[in-house]
Structures are given as C-alpha cells and as structure tokens.
C-alpha cells in the first residue's frame, strides 16, 4: 500500500481554483521528476498555468500504466477526478486521433457516476483543460436525457470517453451491439464509488463490470471514493473474483487535508425536548448566513427543508437570496437553483441529500447541518461540500433540533476528530437485481448458463452465489419460477437446442429496456395549485409545485394544511394523479409533515449516545439545557448504563404506555415495535399501537402494562427474548405492509411487475395495489419463491434492520431495568410527541371494525339485523 504525501508544506491555493483540476502550484522544494513522464501537451499546459500534478495523481497514472486497477481514496478537493482521468487522457494522447476511414474503434474509457448531474458536470469541467491542451480526445455524456439521435450516433461513432450512469451502462450492455461498442475499452472510472456499492444499483453495476471484463479482457478499473471504514471491500469490488483467491485492486490513500472546524450551534434560545424543526435556532442560523459568503444548509428530509426555508424567509429582512433544493421539487425549479448557485448568485441553499454528492457548485464557505447527521461518515462527506480546497479547513455548524440530537451531534463531532468511519458494508448481491441482469444478458445475445455463471460470480457481491440459486434465477426469468409449471408457453427466455438461452420475442427486450434500473419510484402525486371559484368548486390548471409521496397524502383530509415547496398549502383532494391544493392563509400547518429520518442512526453514533448518557464526565461536556433535562430524568426515573435497557411504563389519558430506550435507529425500533405488539396481543394485554424514533420506542395498550410486569416476574425478559426473531418475526412478516413495500421493489426490479409498460405509464398507485395482492397470493401458495427470498433478504438488512435488532436483543439479555412511573418522564417526551403516525396491524384491525359496527347496533335501522 502506498501513501503518497498529498499536502506538503508551503502550498497556497490563492487564485488557483479550478473546480476539477485542483492541482498544486509548483513548489521548488518538491521533486518534480515524475511529472516528466507526462506527454508534452500536459507538461506545457501545467507549465503555462504554473501548476504541477499532485503525487497521488502521478502514482495512479504509474499504476495504471503498469496494468493495475486501483482504488483512490481522497478527501474532497484533492483532485480525485483528474487523477481518475489522467491515465485515459495520457493514453489517448499517445494514441492520437483515429484517421477518418479507419476500421470501427469502440470507446476507450467509460466513466460511471451515480448522478446524471455529475456526469454532465464532469463533462463541462473536463472539456475545458482538454481543449486548452488541444488533446485529440472526444468526450461525450449519455444519460436518460440524451436525445435518441445522439445515442444512435454514439453507437455508430463512439466517443473516446463516455460519461454515463449505471442504468445507461446496463442498457448499453443489453444491446446486441455491446461486443463491438466495448471491444476496445481500456479503463472504467467509477466516481463516488463509496455511495454506489452499498445499494442495489451497485449490485447491478458490479454485474455490468463483470460483463465489461468479458467483452474487453484487458480492461482496468479505477475507483474514486471518499473515506470509508473498509477499503478492502471496495478494492475487491474493482477486481474480478475467483474462488480461493484474494483478488483486489491496489489502494492509493490520500490522508485528509485540514481538519474541519465543526461546532455545535451556541445559542441563548431554549433547545426543545422534542421535534425536528430546529425553529428555535432560526435567528442564529440567519446570522451565520449573513456572516458568510455562501452557506449550504443540509437537512435530513424534504419536509424539514420546507420548514427551514419558510422560517428563514420569515425573518429575511435583508432579502438575502436564499433558495430551496430537494428531490421532490419540479425539475425546472431545481435547475434554476443549481444554475444560480454555480454563478454564485445565492447566499444560501437549503438542501436534502440531492446535493450530497461531489458536484461543484460555487464557493461554499459554510455548511450548516440542521438536525442530527445520523452517521459520522455522512457528516464528514456533507461538510466536505464546503470549500472544495483540500488544504483549507472546512467550516461547519451543527444545529441539533432537540436535546437527543444535541447528544448525537456531540458524538458525531467527536467521531470526526478521531476520524471514525461508519459507512455501511458492501452487501451480498440481491437476487432481484440478478434476475434483471440475466434478462438483460439474454437481450444482448443468447447465453450459455455455465459461462454466464462464471461471469456473474466474478463480481464481488455475487462471488458466493450458489449454482442452484443461479438456476432458480434463470427459471424465474424464463417462466416466473413457479412450482406450478403453467407458463411454459409464455416463457420470456427459452433454452434452444444449442444449449443457449434466447429471448422468446422482441417485446421481451422492449419491456426490459423500459424497466431497467434498480430505483423504484415510490408512488408520487403531482401537487397542483388550484383556486376555488365563487361557487366554491375547484378550478383547473394551476401551477405545478412538484411531487409528494402518496402515503403522506393518505393521512390528510380535505382542509388539512401542510407545508410544501416553501408554502403552507390547504389539501383539497386528489383528482386523477394529482393532488390539488390551494393557498392556505395560515402560517401554522396542521399536519406535521416530518416523515422520519431517511437514514437511521448509525450503530456507531448510537453507541456513543448510550455512553454519553451513562458517563457523568461526558454528560458534563453537554450544554446546560441538556444537562438539566438529563438530571431531571435522573431524579424522576433514571439514566441507563451503557449496556442496560431502560423500560418505563406510565399511564396517560385512557392508555398505558411503555417506552423502550434501545438507541438502535428507527428501522430496528419499528421492527421491534411490530414484534412486541404481537407478543403483547398474544398475552392479552391489548396493545393499540406504537411509534418509533431513532432513540426509543413507545408502545401503548388498553391494559396496564406496568402492573403486569410488576406482578409477573420474568414477564419482561420473556417479552424481549431473542426468540421473537423466530416464529413471531415470520408470522409478522407475512402480513406486514412494510414487507409488502419491500416486495414491490423486488418485484419491479426483478421484472415481475412493470414500472412502465410500453405505451402505458402505470402509476405508482396501480403498481402498489397489484403488488400487495400478488404478495399475498405468492406467500400463501409458494412461500419459498425466489422473490420472497429476495424480499426477506432485503428486509433483514434494509427496511426492517433485523440484523441490528438481533444484536441488540443479545446485548440486553439480563440487563433490562423496568421503571414504573405515574406519569411521563423527561426522556419519554420526544417519542410521545411522535404518536399518531403508525399503521395498526392485523388482529387489531378487526377489533376496530367491530367497534365501528357495534356503534351501529345501537341505532335502530330498518331491514338490518347483525347476527
């Protein structure tokens, strides 16, 4: 492993800031010998600019020229992208332009980025220096937005460097022309690899890479990544896997530049016990914006972004240009904001994860993170957005929205200083993704199953795939993989006499192309502003404000007000696929639209928060308000030790509550809540519902849970026994709507149901309805079906976080402490304020129905008699 020194003393960046080519100014104290291996146009260009390439850039070039694949881990601003392209540019310069009339030459370099916008951004930034050096290199991008004519031309006359996304690569590979197109491929550059590999997109991409290796055996890979907890995971991903061999790419590691200056917002205001709005801090945040050139404000969810944006404008007396950017906004609105940012016309942008990845937009000198960052690595990457210059410290302010978040922010801040990383590991390849890929490969050309199996197991996420599983995948792709073999005549792929699998008809390929990819859209409805006319009926054709998740709307009744697109809106109803809203004349939306964090609290941060609670010394470092809150908790109830699980029970209104302080993140808590309510139900304690936050879980029931636990020794330990992950989990999974949502994603990715059908767009709603019914039927008749296996695998790590829950149940065994209180405790307040948003499951549904029906029994109604 080589660790070239990235930041030598004596550098100054003043006046030299190219977004992409951030390179060092020549420094006489540094040896320059290596740079001389560069072709003349490069040396000349560097000379004219007064710059020189960085050590890791030359190191990567040397390794590439020696025929090796390499992973480059470097902080933002280290000139990662130039490093990634340098081997290609040098090689292409040596090769020279292809003379007209030569035989067909395929693409030389493929660049894959997780974001369409990033591919476009890179093209713009790469064109400039390539033009200035006069390099004989043609660079083009290909995304979903590329016009058909240009795509056709690219196939006939490929550029040297193609910038594209994982989905477009899958499409190119599923094409009959793929062999020709990729035969001359030398390099594949994966940008932001850390963010690609942990998702299903990464699985699909790894399979694409395996195919590229088959089409161009000498291809080399270059991975560009931010700091991760386990680089070897990524190094393996970049290299072809073989049984019993430890194949992996080399590693070039650039140690981080200057330590970021992170602080937690100091405020005179009262930090609330609960909530996610951080409203208390608006004035302080606004003051910070005024003091800086351009501020990026990150939040975790769309609705938080909405709220913050609105609050800022309420006090924006100086009329500072402050904009809003999130994935649900109309695309034209988003592009406007991006353009304004690139031109440095904005003072602040409120953004969600859509701005997470390394796109260079103007000079940001402050990052404000509102709400807790949920993960230490996530925080580091977001802070990296400020000051894209490695050797200047980034400046960031964390704004916790409530007192739990103060602790979480403190933990993340500590982690940042010790360089702790908590990025998730690269998972095992998903079977639904594999099914999609197999169909794609059949669309490209007839395939031999044995050789395709070898190819697939060379991709690191699939290196342990069993042959039997692969056969089931093929069976699934062909006829649905059902034990009842009734679909032979409808097979999508068929084995012919030569032993190869072929696509049955061209429609199959068409269907594949329309449904490629692993990003399943959740049902979204367009939000349209309408006016009521004098007669009170709704008009048509107002402005479109963007899209909102359907399940959010399901909570609303007509007249409810909520926040969207920076406005308080009144919900009027749903017409076809649109959500109609009107202007609400209030500043106080009725429906709190926080839908919970998208990212669960990382295991690392959770552990840190538990430690902080348990350790008086670490508590002492917290702000006074938080200390007061915790000491009040200590007086009223208690503070749990690090390995102890605190459970409080108390009555409130007509219900009895149990709050569990597990600190395992919202997903694991949600699963725990589902399982606990089942068990309580069986015990006859009439649980009614539960709600989960990142820190704790509240369950409520008609019966006095606390009294039962006191009365029956061991009842609590029994309730929390690990065996709940056995039958209870199985039974619950069978009827869980969460699992159905997971199934829907798997079914769309695997091609069982279409996201889009030729000529007919299916709305998300339609897909959801049918997927639920399919799930029920499949589960009832073929519980071992491949797709149900894929769904359960997803659930274990994803939506349900079962793995983490299992670890927790082990950890707390014998360490449960029950406190029976006569009223709500300070620590319980945050979760209690979240109540009212979870769906009730199974058994209790019929109970509620009977309540509704029983109301009726008391009414005298002619001709009706319920027996």
């Amino acid at each position: 492993m080589c660790r070239p020194a990235a930041s030598l003393p004596g550098f100054s960046f003043d006046g030299f800031d190219l977004p992409l080519f951030s390179v060092n100014r020549i420094d006489s104290r540094e040896p320059q010998g290596d740079a001389l291996t560069l072709p003349a146009p490069f040396l000349r260009w560097f000379g004219e600019k007064g710059w020189r390439p960085r050590a890791h850039q030359l190191e990567l070039l040397a390794r590439a020229e020696a025929g090796n694949s390499t992973l480059l881990i470097a902080p933002t601003g280290a000139g990662k992208t130039l490093a990634g392209f340098l081997p290609s540019l040098v090689d292409l310069t040596r090769r020279g332009r292809i003379p007209p009339g030569s035989a067909f030459v395929g693409i030389h370099t493929l660049y894959i980025s997780p974001l369409k916008a990033l591919a476009v951004d890179i093209e713009r930034n790469l064109m400039k220096p390539v033009g200035e050096m006069g390099l004989p290199v043609r660079i083009e991008n290909r995304t979903g937005d590329t016009p058909t004519a240009k795509r056709q031309r690219q196939k006939l006359n490929p550029p040297d460097i193609l910038l594209t996304t994982p989905e477009q690569l899958a499409l190119l590979l599923a094409n009959g022309e793929a062999t020709r197109f990729f035969k001359d491929l030398r390099y594949v550059v994966f940008d932001e690899l850390h963010s690609l590999v942990t998702s299903k997109r990464g699985h699909l991409l790894s399979l694409g890479l395996a195919r590229l290796r088959r089409l161009a055996p000498s291809v080399q890979t270059i991975g560009l990544s931010a700091t991760v907890s386990d680089p070897m995971d990524l190094q393996r991903w970049l290299a072809p896997q073989e049984p019993d061999m430890n194949n992996h790419a080399g590693l070039v590691l650039v140690e981080g530049g200057a330590n970021p200056q992170i602080s937690i917002l100091k405020t005179e205001e009262h930090v609330p016990w609960a909530g996610h709005s951080a409203r208390y801090a608006i004035a302080d945040v606004y003051a910070a914006i005024k003091e800086h050139g351009t501020t990026l404000l990150f939040v975790n969810t769309r609705s938080q972004a909405e709220l913050l944006f609105q609050e800022l404008w309420t006090i924006n007396d100086d009329n500072l240009p402050i904009a809003l950017h999130h994935g649900s906004l109309d695309v034209t609105q988003r592009r406007k904001v991006e353009a304004a940012m690139a031109e440095n016309r904005l003072r602040a942008v409120v953004a969600t994860s859509t701005l997470d990845l390394g796109i260079d937009w103007g000079d940001v000198d402050l990052v404000v993170h509102v709400g807790a960052p949920k993960g230490a690595s996530r925080l580091a990457q977001r802070i990296g957005r400020a000051n894209h210059r490695m050797d200047e410290p980034s400046k960031a302010i964390l704004v916790p929205a409530n007192r739990f978040e103060v602790m979480e922010c403190q933990a993340a801040l500590d982690a940042n200083y010790i360089g702790a990383q908590d990025t998730p590991p690269v998972g095992k390849g998903a079977l639904d993704v594999l099914a999609q890929h197999v169909l794609g490969m059949a669309c490209a050309a007839p395939f031999d199953p044995l050789s395709l199996y070898d190819e697939i197991t060379s991709a690191s996420p699939y290196r342990t795939l069993a042959w039997e599983t692969f056969e089931r995948v093929i069976d699934f792709v062909a006829t649905g993989g059902y034990a009842l073999k009734t679909y032979e005549r409808y097979a999508r792929i068929r084995k012919t006499k030569d032993g190869l699998y072929r696509v049955s008809n061209p429609l199959v390929a068409q269907q594949y192309r329309l449904n490629v990819g692993t990003i399943v859209e959740s049902p979204m409805l367009n939000v349209r502003m309408v006016k009521r006319n004098q007669r009170g009926s709704l008009g048509r054709g107002g402005m479109s404000l963007g899209k909102v998740e359907e399940y959010f709307l399901e909570m609303l009744s007509q007249g409810d007000t909520f926040m969207f697109s920076g406005k308080v809106l009144r919900f009027e109803g749903i017409r076809e696929n649109e959500c109609l809203v009107s202007q609400a004349f209030t500043f106080d939306p009725k429906v709190p639209s926080y839908a919970g964090g998208k990212f669960p609290l990382s295991t690392y941060l959770a552990q840190q928060v538990r430690r902080m609670l348990a350790d008086p010394a670490r508590r002492a470092a917290l702000p006074e308000q938080v200390r007061d809150w915790l000491s009040l908790q200590k007086d009223v109830s208690m503070l749990p030790r690090e390995d102890e699980l605190l459970i409080e029970t108390f009555p409130r209104g007509s219900r009895h509550y149990m709050v569990i302080y597990a600190f395992e993140g919202r997903l694991a808590h949600q699963t725990l809540g589902m399982l606990l309510t089942r068990r309580l139900d069986r015990a006859g304690l009439k649980p009614l519902g539960f709600v989960a936050t990142d820190y704790s879980l509240a369950v409520w029931a008609l019966d006095d849970l606390g009294a039962t636990f006191k009365l029956k020794r061991g009842a609590l330990a029994e309730l929390f026994d690990e065996d709940m992950l056995g039958d209870d989990l199985e039974a619950w999974l069978n009827e869980s709507f969460l699992l159905k949502r997971t199934f829907r994603n798997c079914a769309v990715i695997a091609g069982l149901i279409d996201q889009r059908h030729p000529g007919k767009e299916k709305t998300g709603r339609q897909v959801t309805v049918s997927a639920d019914l399919i799930y029920d039927v499949l589960h009832a008749h073929e519980p071992d079906h491949l797709l149900l296996e894929a769904t359960r695998n997803d659930a274990a790590t994803g939506l349900l976080d079962i793995a983490r829950l299992g670890d927790m149940l082990k950890r707390i065994k014998g360490h449960i402490t029950h406190r029976r209180l006569d009223r709500i405790s300070p620590l319980a307040v945050p979760v209690m304020l979240e109540i009212g948003k979870e769906m009730i499951q199974g058994e209790a549904q019929d109970f509620l129905l009977s309540e509704a029906a029983d109301d009726l029994i008391h009414e005298a109604m002619g001709g009706l008699d319920v027996d």
Binding site: I753, L773, D846, L849, M861
Partner: protein, 241 residues
Amino acid sequence: MHRLAHALSAQTTAPLLHAQTIVNGVVAICDPLGSLYLPETGTLVVSDLHLEKGSAFARRGMLLPPYDTLATLRVLEAAIVRHDPKLVISLGDNFHDRVGSAVMPDAFRHMIAAMALGREWVWINGNHDPDGAFGLPGASMDELNHAGLAFRHEPKRGDAVGEIAGHLHPAATVVRRERAVRRACFATDGTRMLMPAFGVTTGGLDLRHRAMTGLFDRSRLVAHMLGRDRIYSVRFANLIA
C-alpha cells in the same frame, strides 16, 4: 389476506357470522366470504371472480403467480358448501380477459364442473369477458331477471330498483382511535346492491369515489364490510373517504 386464508383453510365450515339485509323486498344474506345468498330462492351470487388474471398478465410478459384462479375457486367452493344453492350466479368479469375461459387449465375446469353438479349456473357477461364462458357448465347471458331482482354486471346509472350488480369492486373505510381500516364490502340502500369483488387478486374502489355517485340513497346506504370471520355493517355516514 383473510380471504386467502379462507382459500387455504381446511375448515371451510368454520362458523362465519353473516349479515342479513333486504333488497327490494328480497331477503339477502351477505357472508364474509364475499358471496350473497338469497334463501327464498336458494340463489348464491358472486361477482368479479377475475379468474385467470395471472395468466392474462403472463400472456403480456408479466409472469404473475399462477395461483389466483385456484385460490378464488377454493373460496367459491367454500361458499357453495356452506349454502348448497340451487342456482349460482356469477355476476360478470368472471374471467380477467376474453380468452381466459378458453385457456384455463383443465384442473380448474373440473373443479367448476364439480361445483356446478346438481345445480344451475349462470355466467353474466362482464366488460372483461363480454363473449361468455367457454367449455363450462351453465349459461352465459348479459342480464338475468330472477326472483324479483335484476342481475347485471355494470350498475345502471340512476334509479335501478332491485338491481344486483358488480363491476365497481366497492370497498369502505372506517376510522376508530385515529386508525383507518379498509375492506371490500357489499353496499346497499335497500333498493339495489353492489357486490364486493370475489376474486382474490382484485382491488377495491372506495364507496365515496365519484364513480359511485348517484347510485344510492346515501341516507339509507349501509356498507357490509368483509371481516375475517364476520360481516361488519357500517352506515355510510360513519365511513370516511
């Protein structure tokens, strides 16, 4: 899901609590399996079976599970065993598409033949299967007037006294303790009735949907909702959208 549970359950004779109502003077029993029984004439009515829905999709390249027909027929079998009717009326959309009845595997054909043994059977044509049922016992027709009631697939707009229809897959939602529960339902105002969809892979349309407007006298409308083992009868005014 509970309907599928019925389809799988060995004890199809387990106690189920039904609701009795009167449509245009005719006594009608709504049972939680989703079938309507008219005791005065020994008539069993089911609607929107959508048999062979899976294979209809498979023909178009979406290989949905082929178990929907079997599951639906099992529930139908249970309903027939319970009531032992003289006449079975299937109210249209018996098959998910025109060719469904022709391509249905023989095993299912035999199941239907066994169910029809010793009773009369009428297939009302629906919009999905307007050409009738092929190779199956019973008669296919667009409409049937029988026992003072009119059986057709699509409900007539406006006033239709004594009509029993399907097509719209009615469902209703109640809210209790801030929780919503939605179920398929029989809907009747005493003048006419809309049947719930019987097929296990059919969705539902809310009674408050605009497609339902004008069909009922809402002040007398009751939704008989399908619970796991009983019918829950709720007045329209107590439902929510």
